[in-house]
């Protein structure tokens, strides 16, 4: 049984848990003993979304629902998509997005789920030849939400898909992206950033399958955890037989700011093709004490010095966002979280 069915049928015993290899650091079955009742329909007003001002089209899904979004061939759009959970309860939402040949889409997606929700969203994103999509996901769920997002991206040759997932965690939070990469000069960037405090958890899982020759993938995820928070990064790149001359780079770098915080990382490359250039780097550590002392010797108080060095650490991910307006929204969001 899949996750959507388990939630829809309130079958807690079928939720994925630590015995499922892919979910062992994001145990839902052990956490959710009884699935909550379905979320009630929502009738009230919502405050404006973080990206509303930047978008020329808006779509809001509250407590479930479906959306079908079509960007015609050659068109250009900036779409704000909000996945909102109001009040306790369980629900599933879905969105099907088709981007026509040579079209351009900036997808500004937010997750805003209340405490007590158990929610999943499934997205399918099909990117036609020569089209370019930048997807920015800002997940700012309530600390007591169980919030899942699963996206399946299918690229065509010569398409470009760039993604940045930003997460502040929840009781359990998982943001999963699976990409079918056809090669053929299609370009993929998959970035992520998690900034976690208190007892929050966040899981960024990606699977990229290179099915054809001459594909490019670059991936950079960074994370900062403090208090008793837990960050999870699972990145898998599969280069299938025949996907020769694939060029793939994966990086994950975590910063642990307290003794009781934790980061679990599993970078994986599976290569069945020839003449490929694949690399991954993974580091997890603390702030550099010497750099901290240096900053303090120049008069910067300890908290400010920590924030400055931490912002510098994560800044690289933010700088890679193409859409200027979204980049500045994200930069401010990051600064707020790090200086809180």
């Amino acid at each position: 049984m899949n996750l959507v069915a388990a939630i829809a049928e309130r079958n807690a015993a079928e939720l994925p848990g630590k015995r499922d290899e892919d979910w062992r650091w994001t145990d839902l079955r052990g956490l959710v003993r009884e699935a909550p009742a379905p979320s009630a329909p929502f009738a009230g007003d919502l405050p404006a979304g973080r990206f509303d001002a930047l978008a020329d089209a808006r779509k809001v899904l509250v407590n479930g629902g479906e959306a079908v979004i079509e960007i015609p061939k050659g068109a250009s759009a900036v779409l704000a998509l909000r996945l909102v959970g109001r009040g306790p309860g369980s629900h599933v939402a879905s969105a099907a997005i088709r981007v026509g040949a040579n079209a351009r889409l900036t997808l500004l997606e937010t997750y805003e789920r209340d405490g007590g929700t158990l929610a999943d969203a499934t997205l399918t994103i099909a990117v036609a030849e020569g089209a370019a999509v930048e997807r920015i996901v800002l997940a700012e769920d309530h600390e007591d939400a169980v919030s899942i997002s699963q996206a399946e991206v299918t690229l065509s040759p010569a398409a470009r898909f760039a993604q940045t997932v930003l997460a502040s965690g929840a009781r359990r939070q998982r943001l999963e992206t699976r990409v079918l990469h056809p090669g053929g000069k299609a370009e993929l960037r998959l970035d992520g950033l998690y900034l976690l405090g208190d007892k929050r958890h966040s899981d960024q899982t990606t699977v990229v399958t290179h099915a054809g020759a001459e594909g490019l993938t670059v991936q950079l995820t960074k994370g900062v955890v403090r208090d008793q928070a837990r960050g999870v990064f699972q990145g898998r790149i599969v280069v299938e037989e025949g996907a020769d001359r694939t060029d793939a780079k994966m990086g994950h770098h975590g910063l642990i700011l307290s003794d009781r915080a934790e980061i679990d990382a599993k970078p994986e490359l599976e290569i069945y093709a020839d003449d490929v250039a694949c690399a991954h780097g993974n580091t997890v550590g603390a702030l550099d004490d010497e750099a901290l002392f240096y900053a303090r010797q120049r008069g910067i108080p300890e908290d400010e010095a920590r924030a400055l060095l931490t912002e510098a650490f994560v800044g690289e991910v933010v700088d890679r966002i193409d859409h200027e307006g979204a980049r500045e929204v994200v930069r401010a969001w990051v600064a707020d979280r790090l200086r809180a």
């Binding site: 120049r298 108080p301 300890e302 400010e304 510098a312």
Partner: protein, 248 residues
């Protein structure tokens, strides 16, 4: 200005400073010379409050205020500046951002207003020109990929912009060629004034040809074992530290 009395300090439980006493009045430049392992860098870190340098006895005051009770950033705001022997690389933080953050933090701590952006940029342009630092370099991450000489020049630039009252130069000449040494020394000498004092820590006499000290102290075995005028440095250059190491 600076008054150090019978200072004892340990690193990892091992005593490095063993009763060091020193007075540097305002307006003067004092040199501390000594063999490797004498405690020269320890002294600079104890005065600036680095973690892991434990004071086990004695005192250090700046204009009568107990330095040792203050956090590193509070000491900086009171005007204590250390030019590091090995300046740190700060990835992701442009030099200009770092210096402006430091300057404004110090000004806030002293109850002064923050410096305006145009005023700050003007100051940065003037001071970097004086030190022959390409202004474009200040837009890059501080010290990342800089040569040894460039890092030392960035230290002096920060010093010039932060305008401290008590300056500690820890082996500032190491890694500098003659031209860079001259530029750095001119930068330091420009900061000499009746209300500032400096402590120049060096292994070699060479730097003191450029930054002329009023007094020279020999640090050996964790204590000051001899003090004299500038001629003491020349004597050391000839005779070496051997007889002081024996005395320590």
């Amino acid at each position: 200005m600076l008054k150090v009395e019978n200072l004892h300090a340990a690193v990892d439980g091992k005593e490095i400073l063993k009763g060091l006493s020193l007075e540097v009045p305002a307006g003067e430049v004092h040199a501390i010379m000594g063999p490797n392992g004498a405690g020269k860098s320890t002294l600079s870190y104890v005065l600036t409050g680095r973690d892991g340098y434990e004071v086990t006895g004695g005192s250090a005051t700046l204009d009568g205020e107990d330095l040792l009770a203050l956090a590193p950033d509070e000491r900086a705001a009171r005007g204590v500046f250390l030019s590091f022997q090995y300046p740190l690389e700060i990835p992701g933080v442009p030099a200009l951002t770092f210096i402006r953050t430091a300057l404004n933090a110090q000004r806030r701590a002293r109850g002064e207003g923050e410096i305006s952006a145009p005023e700050f940029l003007k100051l940065a342009r003037t001071k970097s020109a004086e030190l022959k630092i390409d202004f474009e370099m200040l837009k890059r991450a501080l010290n990342v990929g800089f040569s040894g000489g460039e890092k030392k020049r960035m230290e002096i630039l920060q010093m010039a912009m932060l305008s401290p009252r008590f300056l500690i130069l820890d082996e500032t000449d190491s890694g500098l060629d003659i031209d860079a040494l001259r530029i750095v020394s001119e930068g330091v000498n420009a900061l000499r004034s009746p209300d500032r004092a400096m402590l120049v820590i060096t292994h070699y006499q060479r730097l003191l040809d450029y930054i002329k000290p009023d007094r020279v102290h020999v640090l050996a075995g964790g204590r000051i074992v001899a003090s004299g005028g500038p001629e003491l440095a020349l004597e050391l250059e000839k005779a070496g530290y051997e007889r002081y190491e024996a005395a320590a």
